[in-house]
């Protein structure tokens, strides 16, 4: 095995060691599953409850992805509006900040009163994913090289030409950076809102499964749902990182998009 391969295996190794210790501890102390289930039992539960867990995971993932997509489009549209009109930016930016600093867990119960469960969860996920994307878009659209801006002016470029050929390409790395952060946040937002929904007996996502399994003292299933949530978070991060690398493959920044 080469050194670099061994180096790349290190994170996986640490996880395996942790799981082995966990398994050993549960077996050595003969812990009951409702105190701490062994990794082997969690795996069994994952396989046994796969229909239920899979359906719930699909609901959560769809919500997170929908929220991410709406946040990306919305943030870009609003950022373009901000750039075109400083007045609108001044009027609306504080609202965006207020939404950002108010914890979504505090807003979720209210959303659940006014909206259907799905709409409330979607909106909560959107709210947390939106702000980092908006900030990234605004910064990226403003990060234009002044020399290039002069060159566009000298060539008599229209506003649309400047946007299409200068501002949007300048913004792309910023946008993708925001997108990577927002991907994880959308998942967190969806889970938080689902927890609030699950507490009132509604909802069908993974967090709802966690709440319901808690009521039933089905601790292994709670862990199984948790494993899936982690995997989805890792998957989202890997997917957005891969997207950033691919879109920036011709730029020096492209190779700096690290996986860790």
């Amino acid at each position: 095995m080469t050194t670099s391969l061994r180096y790349r295996m290190l994170p996986m190794l640490s996880v395996l060691v942790l799981l082995a210790l966990w398994q050993g501890l549960v077996m050595a102390l003969a812990l009951r599953p409702f105190v701490l289930p062994a990794p082997s039992l969690i795996l069994q539960t994952l396989l046994h409850d796969r229909a239920l867990l899979g359906a719930a995971a699909l609901v959560t993932l769809r919500t997170a992805l929908e929220a991410l997509a709406i946040a990306a489009v919305g943030a870009l549209a609003l950022a373009l509006l901000f750039v075109q009109s400083p007045g609108i930016s001044r009027a609306l930016f504080p609202l965006a900040v207020i939404l950002q600093v108010t914890p979504v867990i505090a807003i979720a119960p209210l959303l659940l009163i006014y909206l259907s469960t799905h709409a409330a969860v979607l909106l909560a996920a959107f709210l947390v994913a939106f702000f980092p994307l908006l900030a990234a878009c605004v910064q990226g659209l403003g990060a234009v090289d002044p020399g290039l801006a002069d060159l566009f002016a000298l060539s008599g470029a229209s506003r649309w030409q400047e946007l299409r050929w200068l501002r949007l390409p300048t913004m792309l790395p910023w946008f993708l950076g925001g997108f990577r952060v927002a991907g994880g946040l959308a998942l967190i937002g969806a889970i938080v809102a689902e927890l609030a929904a699950g507490a009132s007996g509604a909802g069908s996502g993974l967090a709802t499964v966690i709440v319901e399994s808690g009521f039933q003292l089905n601790i292994p299933r709670m862990y199984a749902a948790l494993v899936i949530i982690s995997a989805m978070g890792i998957g989202l991060f890997a997917a957005t990182t891969w997207l950033a690398r691919w879109l920036l493959r011709h730029r020096p920044e492209g190779r700096q998009q690290s996986w860790t």
């Binding site: 290039l148 002069d150 000298l154 060539s155 390409p169 020096p252």
Partner: protein
């Protein structure tokens, strides 16, 4: 030089911001077609600003600018290459043509010709980060040349390059100008460079930025290595340096 037609004329141009000393004061200047003009001065003397005024990027607060051939085009090269990092050398050079909405087929030929002029015909597909500093400046130069400018404005284009690259690029610039015949206004802080390249050297002083002295360099273009060793060249370098020193003494302490 009486056969040369005037391209652009500044008359008593001034530029000021608020209470501070004007950036430019009473600058009168004529650029004729085909002439090579160097603007030299200490940092902050307004020479780059004057170039922006000439380009029409900075409206003056006093005086008049007359574009005597309004149809003529202007090309500009900045101190940094200011290339779009996401675009190939080809697409960077094609940018002004694309902004002028030239059809793709017509663009291709002119872009390749411009890249060939600066010796980068084989690097059209390279991205800026794959090119050396000198090559990036060549791409920027090709981007300025692709519009077939009557006036080429250069703002210390070689300042960030090493000595050998500088010399090669200034030789190439001299040859290009002799061949294509456009007027050039070249901002620099290097006396040797200004004398080696220009027909006319304008020495600027700062606070307020103004033209203090003017020198004619009568030597044919393109100028080769031998010119840099002639006594005429060395004499002019001495004269321009003396004038430059005077502007430093006249101005506030640096």
């Amino acid at each position: 030089m009486s056969t040369r037609t005037p391209l652009i004329a500044l008359e008593r141009v001034g530029l000021g911001f608020g209470d501070r000393a004007p950036v430019l004061q009473d600058v009168s200047l004529r650029v004729a077609s085909g002439e090579f003009l160097a603007l030299i001065g200490a940092s902050g003397c307004g020479k780059s600003t004057l170039l922006r005024v000439l380009a029409g990027l900075q409206p003056p607060s006093a005086g008049k600018i007359a574009r005597l051939q309004p149809e003529s085009r202007i090309g500009i090269v900045f101190q940094d290459a200011t290339l779009m990092p996401w675009a190939s050398a080809f697409d960077n050079v094609a940018l002004p043509l694309r902004l002028h909405r030239l059809p793709r087929a017509a663009r291709h030929e002119r872009v390749m010709a411009a890249l060939a002029q600066v010796g980068l015909g084989d690097r059209a597909a390279a991205r800026p980060h794959e090119l050396s500093g000198g090559m990036k400046m060549r791409v920027a130069l090709a981007r300025a040349l692709v519009v077939e400018p009557a006036l080429l404005l250069l703002d210390e284009p070689f300042a960030a390059l090493d000595e050998i690259t500088r010399l090669r690029l200034s030789d190439d610039l001299s040859a290009l100008q002799a061949r294509l015949g456009m007027a050039v206004v070249f901002v620099t802080h290097a006396v040797s460079e200004s004398v080696a390249l220009a027909d006319r050297v304008l020495v600027m002083a700062r606070a307020p930025g103004r033209i203090m002295a003017q020198f004619s360099i009568d030597a044919p273009h393109p100028r080769h290595h031998e010119f840099r060793q002639s006594s005429a060249y060395l004499g002019k370098v001495e004269e321009v340096s003396a004038a430059l020193r005077q502007t430093l003494q006249a101005g506030d302490d640096l």
